[in-house]
């Protein structure tokens, strides 16, 4: 029991990351509104930032900016990768939202179910 609690405490970051990831997945699958879907997609993306940054942290360390007074630094490599990922994430969301705007013009709605039923009528 004690060991399980310890495991939970030391892996709390990963568990929350998994929760965010699955929450994003759930929104993408279960919600029909396309804007909500895209918010879910961005939740999924941001959870990956945590997945990368959590192992890079050393408790008692400092940000990776060199100064003679410090010896222990966080791992800079995940930070570099995530800088790229954030910008790419916003680009994909912008493209998806532009598509949603066009769909709204063509169908008059961004609800997936209504769009399917309108397609059925045609």
């Amino acid at each position: 029991m004690m060991e399980a609690l310890q495991k939970f405490a030391t892996h709390y970051n990963y568990f929350v990351t998994i929760f965010l990831m699955v929450a994003g997945l759930y929104i993408v699958i279960a919600r029909g509104n396309m804007i909500k879907k895209l918010v879910g997609l961005s939740l999924f993306q941001t959870s990956v930032y945590l997945l990368y940054l959590s192992p890079g942290k050393i408790v008692g360390g400092t940000a990776p900016i060199y100064d003679g007074a410090y010896q222990v630094y966080a791992n800079p490599l995940p930070h570099v990768l995530m800088l790229t990922a954030i910008v790419v994430g916003v680009a994909t969301i912008a493209l998806g939202l532009a598509l949603a705007v066009r769909i709204n013009e063509a169908y008059g709605t961004v609800e997936e179910d209504e769009i399917f039923s309108k397609d059925g009528e045609i």
């Binding site: 990963y14 930032y49 408790v59 990776p64 900016i65 570099v80 954030i86 916003v90 680009a91």
Partner: protein, 200 residues
């Protein structure tokens, strides 16, 4: 491997702060799932991004935190609000069944948790990620071969192709957005013209 002593559990105020922020993040995520008003969803996702930026600062990722606060909380919120303005959709009905998605998500979560159990504990220094590559970057910064901000140095000196790829993606996405919204502008101008004709 088994002879190695189990790594000590790190329990400092720092870790506690991170845990509290993560819990807040999970709470905001639950609110995003449950909220059906899209305007609230957008504002909650903005709050989510700011919380994420705070956690990034606590995780010593200051450059990433700045980017997340400006891009994630700033630009994302603005384009989401702009989309809400253009689509004029505020609230959406609950008509879908949730059993199957919930099942899929629980299975995925179970698999991921099973996989993450064997990861090294949070915050300790002698993990593979800290013993390869990273010490070399810090060593080079120490010898003044690179700028003092190691993230900048790695980004510019070692991984410039990443940024090239990133720029390509943004360029492509930008062109895509422009092409998608171009027809819209013309249509709106056409509407304006017909309206003017009607008035005349």
């Amino acid at each position: 491997m088994n002879t190695k002593a189990a790594p000590e559990v790190v329990a400092t105020p720092e870790v506690f702060v991170i845990m509290v922020l993560l819990t807040l993040l999970a709470a905001v995520t639950l609110a995003i799932i449950r909220q059906r008003n899209l305007f609230s969803v957008v504002i909650l996702s903005s709050i989510y991004s700011f919380l994420m930026a705070s956690i990034m600062i606590a995780l010593d990722a200051v450059d990433v935190a700045m980017t997340e606060a400006s891009v994630g909380a700033g630009i994302s919120t603005v384009i989401l609000l702009a989309t809400l303005h253009l689509t004029k959709s505020v609230e959406y009905p609950a008509v879908r069944q949730v059993a199957l998605p919930l099942f899929v998500c629980i299975v995925v979560a179970g698999a991921l948790i099973w996989g993450s159990i064997s990861l090294p504990p949070f915050g300790i220094a002698d993990t593979p990620i800290h013993t390869h590559t990273a010490p070399r970057y810090i060593e080079m910064a120490k010898e003044h071969l690179m700028p003092p901000n190691i993230v900048t140095a790695v980004l510019a000196d070692f991984r410039s192709f990443d940024t090239l790829g990133e720029t390509t993606v943004i360029f492509t996405a930008g062109i895509g957005v422009l092409l998608l919204l171009k027809g819209r502008v013309k249509k709106m101008q056409g509407q304006d013209d017909t309206e003017k004709k009607g008035e005349a």
